[in-house]
Symmetry: C2
């Protein structure tokens, strides 16, 4: 069966308080797509964060001494650095232009996922607002899935994604930051391969693979579409979580 990823047109600019499930259902009605058992909706982090009011007016942020010091090293706005510190468990590396952290949600990323772009503020001071990641993206995904399932009667998955850099490769790729109703990892341990050997690779990051696929069709620029409908996900749906994908610290050779 093919895997089919369809970006949804007709998603309006999202505002705090918006009901994303209702907006997605409305956008789907303008297409020939339906919601069937096994379908997955992939959402860009940005619209989930906005709907949850995770905008911060930088004028309200007072940088700590530590933020001022770090901001001088990395040549960033001290108020943004203050928010990065608040959103992080640990700073792993920094250099001019770049701060790599363990986010409070457990994953490693740049700038704690704090986003300057596509953020609309109030009145004239647009540049003064930034967007934090959702408080609890797994729970955000659960809530959106419940809304979509209640309306459709279908058994669905919802995936919230962001774009992360990689340690040794250039370019960002889509990764999962919130998961509901689909596996994060699939464990093939003990299954035979084509020659009857036991598989060498046993854990597949299927939610991250789907995140990358959906990110490809979302695009990043002006014409970007923040919701993708997926049909043909090749593994059985089950409840999943971002936590499946986080490498425990004791297994980390590169921190």
């Amino acid at each position: 069966m093919p895997l089919i990823l369809t970006p949804l047109a007709n998603i309006p600019l999202i505002k705090p308080g918006d009901d994303l499930a209702a907006i997605i259902l409305s956008a789907l009605q303008k297409t020939s797509l339906t919601l069937e058992d096994g379908d997955i909706l992939v959402l860009a982090q940005k619209i989930v964060s906005k709907s949850e009011g995770r905008l911060v007016n930088l004028a309200t942020v007072t940088p700590s001494a530590r933020a001022l010091e770090l901001a001088a090293c990395v040549e960033k706005d001290p108020r943004v650095v203050e928010l990065i510190l608040r959103e992080s468990n640990e700073i792993l590396r920094y250099r001019p232009g770049s701060i790599i952290v363990e986010h409070r949600l457990g994953f490693v990323c740049a700038s704690a996922g704090i986003d300057h772009s596509n953020v609309a503020g109030e009145g004239d001071a647009q540049e003064e607002w930034v967007l934090l990641l959702p408080e609890d993206p797994d729970r955000s995904a659960d809530r959106i899935r419940q809304g979509l399932e209640a309306a459709s009667g279908a058994r669905l998955g919802v995936l919230i994604i962001d774009s992360h850099g990689r340690a040794w490769r250039l370019g960002v790729v889509g990764v999962a930051i919130g998961i509901s109703g689909l596996p994060g990892l699939v464990d093939l341990r003990g299954q035979p391969d084509l020659m009857g050997y036991k598989l060498r690779i046993t854990l597949i990051g299927v939610a991250d693979e789907l995140a990358a696929a959906a990110s490809l069709v979302m695009g990043q620029a002006a014409e970007g579409t923040p919701v993708v409908h997926v049909r043909g996900f090749p593994y059985p749906l089950r409840q999943g979580s971002l936590r499946e994908l986080l490498r425990p610290k004791e297994g980390d050779m590169f921190r």
Copy 2:
């Protein structure tokens, strides 16, 4: 436009000397799929390596003193460790069960991509053969693309993928190791986002995103399919290379 990834059934077990373009064309004829301008074929590294005869009989490998020493630390077959050393520019980390290297092709991966599974040997000694990565996967992809384009008249892309682990996340994901006729990276520098700001994220690892998507539909186990037909890749095709995706050492904060 949707992105559609279709795994090709009817790919036989590949042997050294096999013509992959001809095999793919033959498999396509048993489907309703055609080759049209802009289509991309994604191939698992394993079949490319096999077709190029990159099988090594471990009985022919004499481990060096360094390989014997490292093998004792990582608890692996010294002959496999010898091959890992030969295929690598540098060992980055090791511990029991795991050797992380910079492959001679420039990317960071475990065990230099050397694969025990799905490797058919000669006669009774199947376990004694391993499979190395292609000598030059970009060139392999070029050759396969030329074969497919000559037969179809269509302007195509060919992507060769492997599965890599990540520094901070569990589970492997598909990544590009050979690219022909499609971009490795897409640079959105200077393009405005939805609010008219300049984009914060400018380099997208599109070949890796497509690799992850194709890996998802290939699967890893007995029923795996090593070739995926892709329609609807959302960026213009151009000549590309694995080298676009390699982070220069001087920019690496985690080595």
